[in-house]
């Protein structure tokens, strides 16, 4: 069982590896039409790293993110977040496990339309039953450049601003790992750049670990390293990526598939 909601494991001091996957496999569909989305993926990501996961459509990158973040259960294999294994249990247990460990940023923002920007930002704290002081929302939102938009509704903001609110919401619980699923997929170049710089700063300044799924070589170039995925398997790794090198590598991804990192 997950040691649900136990803050002690969290506060004992961070593990050296923020995220570890061991032989994680996931298959969708019935027996005769089954699709293997993940095929024995093993990887480890150190604390304070910014990693992009890339690969063609259907390569399993979103499944990888969902399994690593406890949003989906792998069929087999082990997932460890911040040194604690993510095991079975119901949705409530998984949710409590994620609190304080994992933050999310999605392509579609997923802000609640009925709440203001400030209320959206502190929602995870409220749900975790923590006291929320008024300054907290302002502090976090100021750090993403939206300190003057506290009372706005998500509907009144641009896409880039909404994504910055989502990042503020992901940062507010001070999670060990932030998972970003195509965070710039719906944004123009300039907004995308702001969002990527914020994610980069979360790593460099605040020591968070960021895992970002993307199909955009430019977005991937903001990361410290890029993991390539093809047919549900790891197909290589690139450190200190540049947009051109990533694009080049992606174009030849199908040519020779190497396993392992």
């Amino acid at each position: 069982m997950v040691r649900a909601g136990s803050r002690r494991t969290h506060d004992k001091g961070p593990a050296a590896e923020a995220l570890r996957l061991v032989k994680v496999s996931k298959t969708y569909g019935a027996r005769d039409s089954a699709v293997t989305a993940l095929d024995g993926v093993t990887l480890g990501l150190g604390r304070g790293t910014f990693t992009a996961v890339m690969g063609p459509s259907g390569s399993g990158k979103t499944t990888l993110l969902h399994c690593a973040a406890g949003l989906d259960r792998p069929d087999s294999g082990i997932v460890c977040v911040d040194g604690t294994e993510l095991t079975g249990g119901g949705e409530a247990d998984l949710t409590k496990f994620r609190r304080g460990r994992i933050g999310f940023v999605f392509q579609q923002y997923n802000l609640l339309e009925t709440l203001t920007v400030a209320q959206n930002t502190v929602l995870p704290l409220k749900l975790a039953g923590q006291r929320v002081d008024r300054g907290r929302a302002k502090e976090v939102l100021t750090s993403v450049g939206l300190g003057d938009r506290l009372g706005h509704r998500p509907g009144q903001l641009s896409g880039g601003q909404r994504q910055r609110v989502a990042i503020a919401r992901a940062l507010v619980t001070e999670p060990r790992v932030i998972f970003a699923d195509e965070p710039t997929g719906a944004l123009d170049t300039r907004s995308a750049r702001e969002v990527l710089l914020l994610l980069q700063r979360a790593v460099r300044v605040h020591g968070r670990t960021v895992v970002m799924v993307t199909h955009d070589p430019v977005a991937a170039s903001y990361a410290d390293s890029v993991l390539f995925l093809a047919d549900g398997r790891l197909a290589g790794r690139m450190d200190a990526p540049t947009a051109n090198a990533v694009a080049e590598r992606l174009a030849h991804l199908g040519d020779n598939v190497t396993t392992g990192v």
Partner: protein
Amino acid sequence: MFLLAMRSIRHRPGRFLATLLSAFLGAAIIMTFNSMHDTAAQDGVDPTSAETLSTAAGVVGGYGTLLVFFAVASTLTVNVRQRTAELELLRRSGATPGQLKRMVVGEAVVVALVGAALAIGPAMLGGRALLEVFQDSGQVAGSVDPSFGPVALLTGIDITLLASAGAAFLAVRRATRGQERPGGARKFLAYGALLAGAASASSTFVFSGTDAALMAPPAYGAILLSVGFALMAPRLLEAVLDRLPLDGASGWLAVRNLRERAGHLAGILMSLILFTAVATATLTMQAVESDAVAASGLTKSIDAKNLETLNVTVVGIIVVFVCVMLVNSLYAATSYRAREFGQQRLAGATPGQVLGTVGTETLILTVTGVLFGTVAALAGIVPFTVVRTDGVLPGEVCAIGVAVIAVAASVTLGTALATARRMLRTPAVGAVAVAS
């Protein structure tokens, strides 16, 4: 377009279940009462029996028609509103507004026909049962045989069809134009209904205690007042919310959600207020009337008995219909929120917290609806009791009120929580992806 309509019904039968249910119930009720016309028109029925049967058919048939239209229209409106995305997609793929209208109206017609056809059997049995009720109370001669003929069939099918097609047409027109109704007319109607209701309830005092029509003014007063309250539902809800100090994550979210969605929830609140007011007022006044007749030592006249049977039947119909409306609109409104629930869960809400939020919202809605419904009911009950008896508040009102409130609360909470629970079965990521 008609082929597309048929295909969409065949592949998503669940979506049409709510519409089918209201069409079925509506047709069944209309046919049941209108079969009294058929029975009365037979040869060899004595004039007294024929008159009783025709009155029942006329009065309740009229009520029934209105209610069927209301129920079917509300279900179809919700149904079409939920399909805005699908209709938009079809429009972008080249469907003209006319084609969309034909598709939605075509679906509604097919569903209404199926509902009416299914209703024929139950309506025959219902007509038989109703005739027995009249015969048992001696209002209709025992020799009269039940008959289910052209009047029942034609009215049942025509009215259900007309209500479905008409409501679907209006709903799809509103959806494709995408404009909100102006608020001024609503405000005017609300005040009008409240004034008329107050006037009708006070006019009770003009009548004498033994007047046969004494029950009409307070009953209409209560109904009009509840319509007025129902039209003002969003503002009443906001007033209640301003006075609620709620702590805890679920309560906090519930209050904020309700405040934002007050306009959308008006339909549910409307059904609740109408249900509480109509059921409480009519049942209580009937109980007071029966007591007064018993106390005076007179045996009931045939008219009084007839009225009692009718009142109880009408209340029964209203209760069933408003319940269907309530369940329908609550189910639709809650299932529409699957994406929002997914977002809450991704932000760190456990399934229990999501259910807690839905439960709190529904509880606040129920309390608000029941509160104003009871006020409207009392506005009718008090004048009636003062004129008919020596008291002010009859003893029955407590028991009846509690029973009505219990039914209202269990229906609303049960529907909302069961639906939300079902929505939670989809993984959070999947629920969020559906609409995006």
